[in-house]
């Protein structure tokens, strides 16, 4: 397909993204696995873009993982969603911004269900009232946090200290974008560019100087599988699907992978370590893996934030070779220091996967 043809199709999927005054709905997975990305999002919104965002102490899990692993019914999940909306109502905000892709699918599904089956909205209201005494109204707009970064990608570019360019060759870095399945596969109109041609991450990469790789398994799931990852005996499902993706992208020699889903970032980072240790197979250069980054980590690097405040030390695949390519300075000793610059030891080195 010609590129201009693709761009015309993308235009059909341009959704409304709110420009300020956000209520922040956090991700359980990200808070545990990529805690710094949750904070970097807030820092970019408040300090770089000068927007208003409310971070609420009272919110809880959305129960999305429990719903998709069939532990709770959608009645439960819709009522928890309604409680989060009620918390947003309390602070008079109307733009609900979600940092988890599973949750984004859950909030979208709840609102669609209430629209298409109004009796379910009545039932949810009743459940919420009975359980908590609360009432609620739905947000005017819901958006994923990656939508907001996409919306302001050019402003980020204007403030960029670094570009996604190889400093030695002057060529754009070659980037794989991986979109979490529930960002647009359930409700294509809710994602920028729809499910087939999502531009939310490719738009950021192209603005910041990189080049996107198209490869056969681009839209294949990372393999989370909800129950399959939780149950140890089934976890090979998750590993096998990630391997499908890396085997498919390998010939295109990506410099890094960017994702917009907390789970995908984690699986694509950790399963490379497992494949290396089990099969002696590494996908990056010189025995390293291919770095897998959240879009906040990429934005933070582009903006010149100190690398180890971005949480890059919590990845199993080292990000330093990528920083070397771009020319981002870092102090490797700082990687393994605690909050008060105390020595906290270093992780053991894997046997096969090269790390710094």
């Amino acid at each position: 397909m010609k590129i201009d043809g693709k761009q015309n199709i993308w235009k059909e999927y341009q959704k409304e993204i709110p420009d300020d005054n956000y209520y922040y709905a956090r991700s359980c997975i990200r808070q545990n696995f990529f805690p710094a990305s949750e904070e970097t999002f807030l820092k970019i919104i408040k300090e770089v873009l000068g927007k208003n965002i409310y971070d609420d102490a009272h919110q809880t899990t959305c129960t999305g993982i429990a719903y998709h692993s069939d532990l709770v019914s959608f009645d439960t999940t819709m009522t928890v969603v309604a409680r989060q909306f009620s918390l947003m109502n309390n602070v008079q905000l109307k733009n609900f911004v979600i940092s988890c892709v599973t949750s984004f699918g859950i909030y979208s599904e709840a609102m669609e269900t209430w629209k298409n089956f109004p009796e379910t909205l009545e039932k949810t209201k009743e459940h919420l009232k009975n359980a908590t005494g609360r009432d609620f109204t739905s947000p005017e707009i819901i958006a994923h946090t990656s939508d907001i970064i996409y919306k302001y990608r050019e402003q980020i570019k204007e403030k960029a200290k670094f570009h996604l360019v190889n400093k030695n060759t002057g060529k754009p870095l070659r980037v794989v974008e991986h979109i979490g399945c529930h960002y647009a596969k359930i409700f294509p109109s809710k994602g920028i560019g729809g499910a087939e041609f999502p531009s939310v991450l490719s738009g950021m990469i192209e603005s910041w100087g990189g080049e996107i790789i198209d490869y056969p398994e681009r839209r294949h799931c990372c393999g989370f599988g909800f129950r399959h990852y939780i149950i140890k005996e089934n976890r090979g499902y998750s590993l096998s699907n990630t391997k499908v993706k890396f085997d498919s992208m390998e010939p295109y020699k990506p410099d890094f992978v960017i994702t917009n889903c907390p789970g995908c970032t984690f699986f694509m980072d950790r399963w490379q370590y497992v494949i290396a240790e089990m099969d002696n197979k590494t996908y990056g250069e010189n025995g390293f893996g291919i770095p897998v980054l959240t879009y906040e980590e990429v934005a933070g690097l582009v903006l010149g934030f100190t690398p180890y405040t971005l949480g890059l030390q919590l990845h199993q695949v080292s990000i330093e070779p990528l920083m070397d390519k771009i020319g981002i300075p870092y102090d490797i000793n700082e990687k393994y220091l605690g909050f008060e610059n105390e020595e906290i030891g270093r992780p053991e080195k894997p046997k096969v996967l090269q790390v710094i």
Binding site: I29, T76, R83, H127, L128, I186, G225, P350
Partner: protein, 209 residues
């Protein structure tokens, strides 16, 4: 109405996910071609949709007692691609729900694994208000986490503070402790909407022979 084996068709037809998920399958196999679960398990969403569409009570009962309904990974790639707007992933959710309500899930090895899911995710939600929680993730249960996880866990308080989190703190922030009153509201919702009963049923059915 508590579902029983004789009225499976009736219960399914009232399920919103079933209504949304089945608009008439033409057996084209597109879903199977893109399904990640079909790639690695003995699972074929096209065949599943064919069985479900026939609405034969005996066949449905077999399905609810089988491993087949537990293989889907809920990626919902099938929702995007089906030319008839069917959603095998939604049908799976409806079938899994019914299988757990009747207790048939405990008759298949894959179904019984719901006990593990309940004891991990269900109990995290009740105890912490998070569906996953750092303190509960150990390297022996999750070797794929790698040595970096062990280092992170050993130094969680210091590393999380450096990264701007509010680990076990009060007020807002990453990994804050969810307050007793917020946890009480969440648990009250779990009770009101039948989730706690579902958790108990999973335990009960898995302990019945």
């Amino acid at each position: 109405m508590k579902p029983e084996s004789k009225n499976i068709k009736e219960v399914l037809e009232k399920d919103i996910l079933f209504i949304e998920g089945l608009n008439g399958c033409i057996n084209c196999g597109t879903c199977t071609a893109i399904c990640p679960a079909a790639k690695f398990f003995d699972y074929d969403p096209r065949q599943l949709m064919d069985t479900v569409q026939s609405m034969n009570n005996d066949e449905l009962i077999e399905l609810l007692k089988s491993d087949i309904i537990w293989y889907c990974g809920q990626c919902l790639s099938c929702k995007t691609r089906c030319p008839r707007n069917n959603v095998p992933g939604f049908i799976i959710t409806a079938l899994r729900r019914l299988s757990q309500d009747i207790g048939y899930f405990a008759q298949s090895a894959e179904g019984r694994k719901q006990l593990t899911v309940k004891r991990i995710v269900g109990e995290n939600i009740i105890k912490y208000g998070y569906c996953v929680y750092i303190d509960e993730i150990e390297l022996n249960g999750h070797p794929e986490q790698g040595p970096v996880w062990q280092w992170y866990k050993n130094n969680a308080a210091s590393i999380l503070k450096k990264l701007g989190a509010n680990y076990k703190g009060s007020g807002e922030g990453t990994l804050r402790e969810i307050s007793e009153s917020d946890l009480a509201e969440l648990n009250s919702i779990l009770k009101e909407t039948g989730a706690l009963e579902k958790f108990d049923n999973i335990e009960r059915y898995c302990h019945e022979d």
